[in-house]
Symmetry: C2
Subunit: 188 residues, 2 copies
């Protein structure tokens, strides 16, 4: 029997694929091991346990989100940048329903790459707000508002929390428009 040749990286990457397929909460070591053609306990040679796996998945997803937000913001400013980054955020969450929730887990302070990815993602938003003349505490507050509004919308949408027939895409556009007017008329 040839060896599977796993590494921590391949395990985490396959976990990400699996999570997107079956959902973040139904990601299980048993299913992951089966997917990788290996017995369940063998995974422990590459990952400390399921909690550590979630943490690494969080780092992976955060890095991906940061990259996409940065790319969406490139070459844009003001309301254009705001709309593009918000859309990229929601797009990632919809394309990766298993990875996205992992993003919410706070980084392990001992994982510099994870911390850096988080800072890059926040930085992409922060940069947009400079275009609105916001900096210092105001920019921090405005960044938190952006993250709260966009993440909250994604979470409610995923949970089926929008019962009424009103089109959800249009509500999202209105949300981003609302952020734009809030930022243009910010009073600290």
């Amino acid at each position: 029997m040839p060896r599977a040749g796993l590494t921590p990286q391949t395990v985490v990457r396959e976990a990400a694929v699996l999570a997107d397929e079956v959902g973040h909460d139904r990601l299980t070591l048993a299913a992951l091991a089966a997917r990788l053609g290996v017995a369940l306990p063998s995974l422990y040679k590459h990952v400390k346990g399921i909690d550590a796996l979630y943490q690494k998945l969080s780092a992976l997803a955060t890095a991906e989100v940061a990259a996409e937000l940065t790319r969406a913001a490139a070459g844009r400013a003001g309301g254009d940048a705001l709309r593009a980054v918000a859309a990229a955020f929601r797009s990632y969450a919809r394309r990766h329903p298993g990875r996205y929730p992992a993003t919410q887990r706070a980084p392990d302070p001992a994982d510099p790459e994870h911390l850096a990815a988080g800072e890059q993602a926040v930085g992409a938003i922060y940069a947009i707000l400079r275009g609105y003349g916001l900096s210092g505490d105001a920019a921090v507050d405005a960044t938190r508002m952006f993250r709260a509004a966009v993440h909250g919308f994604i979470a409610l949408e995923a949970a089926g929390g929008f019962g009424l027939p009103r089109d959800v895409d249009r509500s999202f556009d209105q949300l981003v428009a609302g952020l734009d007017t809030a930022y243009r008329n910010w009073r600290s």
Copy 2:
């Protein structure tokens, strides 16, 4: 041995207390049964299973939230009402960290009380927006923005997603102020 005398209601209420103590995700039938002084399978005489328990917990928490939002809105209008209801929302989430996440689960269409509680909670927000001159589709979008922003803030706060030292209470005040200006300058 006297009988414990459980009912579906007492089981769900104790589940709510337990969830607030140990966290929503660590609510377990074993711990609940121990708390109620009963063997684990006995719970199945009152609740269909853990999923149904979560659903009933969601109905309970939604009704409580709706009551508190309605109470906070009473006798207020405009920005005052907005601030009071947002504060009540966040206050409930912080006082009931186990119940609150259950709120996110969509109501079972076959549970009229749950549906009514959800509508009451949304109605409390909707009513405030009439004070801003918003109705129809605009009110739906604005309600979704309110829920998204406030829930998102609560979720990020609970997850430890706000790393910077900037005071979180003040950021929340700024979020609500931002909603106020967005609503005052709404363009549909």
